[in-house]
Amino acid sequence: MGMHTISGKKLAAGGALLTLLIILPLVSSSFGQHVMIITFMFAMCGVAWNVMGGYAGMFSFGQVAFFGIGAYTSSFLVLTFHLSPWIGLVAGGVISALLAAAIGYPCSKLRGHYFAIASIAFAEIVRIVFTNWDMVGAAEGLTLPMVKESLTHFMFHSSKLPYYYIMLLFLLLAVAVCYWVSTSKMGYYFRAIKESHEIAEVLGVNVVRYRLFAIMISAFLTSMAGTFYAQYILYIDPESVMIMPISVQIVLVAMLGGANTVLGPVVGAAILIPLSEYSRAWLGYKGTGVDMILYGTLITLISMYQPAGVWGAITNLMRRGK
């Protein structure tokens, strides 16, 4: 298993990159910091998607449901019980994982397009329920009250830097989880399931159980990103945290970078999110949707010319260079 022991060279490259990421926000503009925060957030969601989509072969187009539930759970607990968002973070993750299991179990025989449609149907039901649910503000959503900035309140007014470093830590956690999954026995089971349910079963893998593990891990991590988003923007409604374009963006980040690789989604996010954030900032303000037209074109071109992911192409080049 020499493939999975991290070489000294890789460790040095990782350390250098991490140092760069720690220093970079100190010399960035506020908008630059914002773009990096959103990039990390989608990178985290992409890594989480990869656990179930890239490794276990369940192409979910409904990840936004877990993102939204994470955002709503912590915000609801803050507003109603004055609980710290950190407690909400864990609570949201647990609720998302349980819901993921509850919906994943009946869907455990679904594959391919049927699974994709089921994931969309699930996320749309969640959106419709929240849009009509008065206890969570229905269509008007929830606004978090301004409180004194502190780590326990998960709220900072004077600078975006704390948000940046928290998000960076979250992303590292997600990458670590994905790395652990990919190198553990579970990762091999996931790949077997992706290849074929029948073969996996013959090999003695409990397909239903391991599919549920994949979905639950993915849901928990995505939910954490949702809680972060709520604390960062301080206002959520179903139209901002539960709509399908977010799910698509998450899939896209993973696909562009390279599904089935640990760092692929991070690379995908680093390319796609700044592109879409800057084009929105430059072109979107008129409300003409030119930025969306470009975005649609970009998705089409990526699918046509880079469907296997950039990260795979890069590592292939590096291997060839050796």
């Binding site: 049927y114 149907a121 419709i128 009509n132 699918s303």
Partner: protein, 284 residues
Amino acid sequence: MEQLVQQLVNGVLIGLVYSLLAIGLTLVWGVMNVLNFAHGDFLMIGMFLSYWLYTLAGIDPLFSIPINAVALFLMGLFIYRFIISKVMKGPGLAQLVVTFGISIFISNFAALIWTPNFRSIDHTLLSGTWDISGIKLSIPKFVSSIGSILTSFGVFWFLKNTRTGKAILAVEMDREAALIMGINTERINSLSFAIGSALVGVAGALLATYYYIYPFVGGTFGLVCFCIVALGGFGSIEGAFIAGILVGVVQTLGGYIFAPSYKLAIVFAMYLITVWIRPQGLRG
């Protein structure tokens, strides 16, 4: 009780239009295993085409049906040749994602050139309602569903009785075997995609007689169609036809019994429950 019958009638009427839409989608899905997320946006193009033909040239939506069919057939050919066929060789995920890109592009482009406003065609040949012992029957809705039935049966006849139709069904059954039998599967792919688009064009003209027309109208239609196709069973034309009516009825009755805002949630829930019990769909 009368209200309930009224809702049932409305449900069947919209369901028949769903059937036509879903048949177009299931054809593409069955033949090349591609889920077209831009299907609803093709519908929007069809509706706008009828709208402009009516507004600029005074052509009634009923007479724009053949124009729509031809125009969207060509559009389908074009999109298949230059985009879909290129992605077909790639990984499955890219095939799922590419039509999202097309969908976002088309709907936002339409919003840019036509504004996102709602429009409607006011005085078509078909307007008004019939009153049949208290049950109101909207004439445009009625004629649209008749049009859907005729078109659906036309497609069915074409597939069962012509050489090309049989070739399409053969590819749907077994691509490799069809290839060995000398069928040009690439040609069948593009033809199926174009026919699927043409059917949506017809549905667009029919819907334009009574439905609001706006750039983002395709979104919900597209999602509902996925559920119908999957409910009907992979690539099954008859299945899609029956499931379309079923979904129309469930949506309308569900909206009436619970709350209109939940009607789509009910359709999605029905999908999830069905695939839980029968993962292969009703007729798969």
